[in-house]
């Protein structure tokens, strides 16, 4: 079972991000479960959502306590206490940031499991609005390889039919592209 925890702020599409991940997994014939951190938080407040992906039906109802991946939609959340709680040693960390945040390098997880990407800028470019979640999903697909970019794009289009969906998909595609290329360089240099 692969468990994802998404951190963001109310209004950034944290919940729909988790939902799109679950839909993408569903499209790949997997079982998936997405749910928000329930509460009455309003726009701007720190919120979480969760997604589980598995090959067998998912019965577990507890929140994601040991995530295999963290998606952080807003760099200002980095100082939030307990942000990284339960993160598996070889877990992934994806953060929406145009530059490497301080202390990012010092993280426990393997270097090629962590990534900062200017998703908001990509969103601005493709949607005209700084809604990072779609771009982050594209990046997540490239980073973790848990989900195919095709199914992610389809999930995005299912969630946002029409123009907005295409724009979001484009942002996701672009993010995926960027990450893939970065990874290739990394491998190249490694060789």
């Amino acid at each position: 079972m692969f468990q994802i925890r998404i951190h963001g702020r109310g209004g950034q599409g944290v919940v729909s991000a988790a939902e799109m991940l679950s839909v993408a997994a569903f499209l790949e014939g997997k079982y998936a479960q997405a749910f928000p951190s329930f509460g009455s938080e309003r726009t701007g407040a720190p919120v979480m959502s969760f997604c589980r992906i598995d090959d067998i039906p998912i019965r577990l109802r507890e929140p994601v306590l040991q995530p295999d991946a963290l998606i952080i939609q807003d760099p200002t959340l980095l100082h939030l206490p307990g942000l990284f709680d339960g993160l598996e040693p070889d877990g992934f960390v994806l953060i929406n940031s145009s530059h490497q945040p301080a202390g990012f390098a010092a993280m426990a997880c393997p270097p090629d499991h962590r990534l900062a990407i200017g998703a908001s800028e990509l969103a601005l470019k493709h949607l005209g609005r700084p809604l990072p979640n779609a771009a982050l999903l594209g990046a997540f697909s490239a980073l973790s390889g848990v989900l195919h970019i095709e199914s992610v794009l389809e999930a995005i289009r299912e969630k946002f039919p029409g123009k907005i969906g295409d724009a979001n998909a484009a942002a996701a595609q672009a993010a995926w592209q960027i990450v893939k290329e970065a990874r290739m360089e990394a491998h190249a240099t490694a060789d």
């Binding site: 988790a18 939902e19 679950s22 839909v23 997994a25 569903f26 499209l27 079982y31 998936a32 479960q33 997405a34 749910f35 928000p36 329930f38 009455s40 039906p57 998912i58 019965r59 577990l60 109802r61 507890e62 929140p63 306590l65």
Partner: protein, 415 residues
């Protein structure tokens, strides 16, 4: 058709497939998405021959349903928490008049203190209202139970509550096989009311009944619930034939055949419990669980049969009879009368408190070694409560302790 959708949406879709004729809507978290979805389907024309009414309160919501049902229309509404209490008078009335209304409960705690999160206090408060109460374990089951509920309600002329855990199910995106209209039509015949308001054949419905007959009326209600005990498994069998899957029924056992410790619970927590059972089984513990789908009627015989071979039974329940303890446990104990089985109560998840496998393992272990006290409040912050209790011992005063507790939680001592 298989879809990855939100639980509320799945329920809305399957309710729509039941061809309801009158739907009453009043918003209350976490049930809201269901009526929103239905409202959209009525407006869009996807759901035809249906009147969607935005009422001014839950009391009105059920009252309108009472009227429409008495007039022969298949009627549906949904509510939760305070809303259910606000309509309490009508809840008893609907069952007393034998009106086959189906109502979804997005289970949620009851204030004060005000709390919007999940537990079972709301539907438990109506457990003696004469309604049938079915609890869904998954969103698939939530969707399926509504279809069975209409059939059950209309065959017995009794109202049915389909209870699904607020947020945990209502807001969860899961894979759900949404049935086809053909399947539902094959399973659910058009509504033929047992009695109907009809100018051509006048009746006076809702008479005042005095001591000379009131007892008989109640006894007959009691018998009706007995009939439901027989009907529910039948409807479940029929459902399997048409829809090809197992949903509903009185109860479902999980790895119970040789279990010494059996866990009993209602609703979605059974999933987490089963995960925990698997872990403990892997470690060699003889444990299993029983998921109670039908809480009203309470399947005394069926449950007794399932639990008879156990040494100890742990009832995990999301509600508490303040001053007493478990509510479901009392009924489980009653079902096990005369059997040498210890039944312990674990009150868990009140007001949305997370129930983790870790915590469950703990209590199940204790139970297995006979160290689990009769009543446990799972993951209770003992430090906070003992401080509050001390304060109260010093200085008696009225008023809610919530403020104090919140202060303590913020104070470093408890962190």
């Amino acid at each position: 058709m298989l879809r990855q959708i939100e639980g509320s949406r799945a329920v809305a879709e399957s309710v729509a497939l039941c061809r309801p004729e009158v739907i009453c809507a009043y918003p209350i978290t976490p049930q809201t998405h269901i009526v929103e979805g239905l409202g959209e389907m009525v407006k869009s024309g996807q759901l035809k021959g249906c009147d969607f009414i935005n009422v001014e309160s839950e009391f009105a919501a059920l009252s309108v349903a009472i009227g429409s049902s008495a007039a022969g229309a298949r009627s549906y509404t949904a509510t939760a928490s305070q809303g259910l209490l606000y309509m309490a008078e009508a809840v008893y009335n609907a069952s007393g008049l034998g009106l086959p209304i189906v109502m979804t409960i997005g289970n949620r705690a009851i204030g004060a203190p005000i709390n919007i999160w999940n537990d079972h206090s709301d539907s438990m408060s109506m457990r003696d209202s004469g309604w049938l109460q079915l609890h869904a374990e998954t969103n698939q089951e939530a969707a399926d139970l509504h279809i069975q509920a209409f059939r059950l309600a209309e065959e017995l002329s009794l109202p049915v509550m389909v209870c699904m855990d607020g947020f945990i199910l209502t807001h969860a995106y899961e894979r759900v096989d949404v049935p086809t209209q053909q399947q539902v039509d094959a399973y659910l015949p058009p509504f033929l009311p047992r009695q109907v308001l009809n100018p051509a054949a006048p009746l006076s419905i809702g008479a005042m009944v005095g001591p000379e007959a009131f007892m008989e009326v109640r006894y007959l209600d009691h018998c009706k619930q007995g009939q439901a005990l027989e009907l529910i498994p039948e409807l479940n069998r029929e459902f399997r034939e048409i829809f090809g899957r197992d949903s509903g029924g009185l109860l479902r056992a999980y790895r119970a055949h040789d279990a010494e410790t059996l866990v009993v619970a209602l609703g979605s927590i059974n999933g987490t419990i089963q995960e925990t059972v698997d872990q403990l089984r892997a470690e060699g513990m003889k444990i299993g669980s029983v998921s109670l789908c039908s809480y009203r009627p309470f399947p005394v015989e069926a449950l007794r049969k399932k639990l008879a071979s156990a040494k100890e039974v742990v009832v995990v329940e999301k509600c508490v009879a303040v001053g007493v303890g478990g509510i479901v446990s009392m009924e489980v104990r009653n079902a096990l009368t005369g059997l040498p089985i210890t039944v312990s109560t674990v009150v868990a998840g009140l007001g949305g408190r997370t129930i983790t496998r870790k915590s469950l393992r703990g209590v199940f272990h204790k139970a297995h070694v006979g160290q689990l006290p009769p009543l446990t409040f799972l993951d209770l912050n003992h430090d906070v409560v003992s401080r509050e209790l001390d304060r109260q011992r010093d200085r008696r005063h009225s008023g809610p302790p919530a403020e104090n507790i919140l202060r303590d939680l913020r104070s470093p001592v408890c962190q």
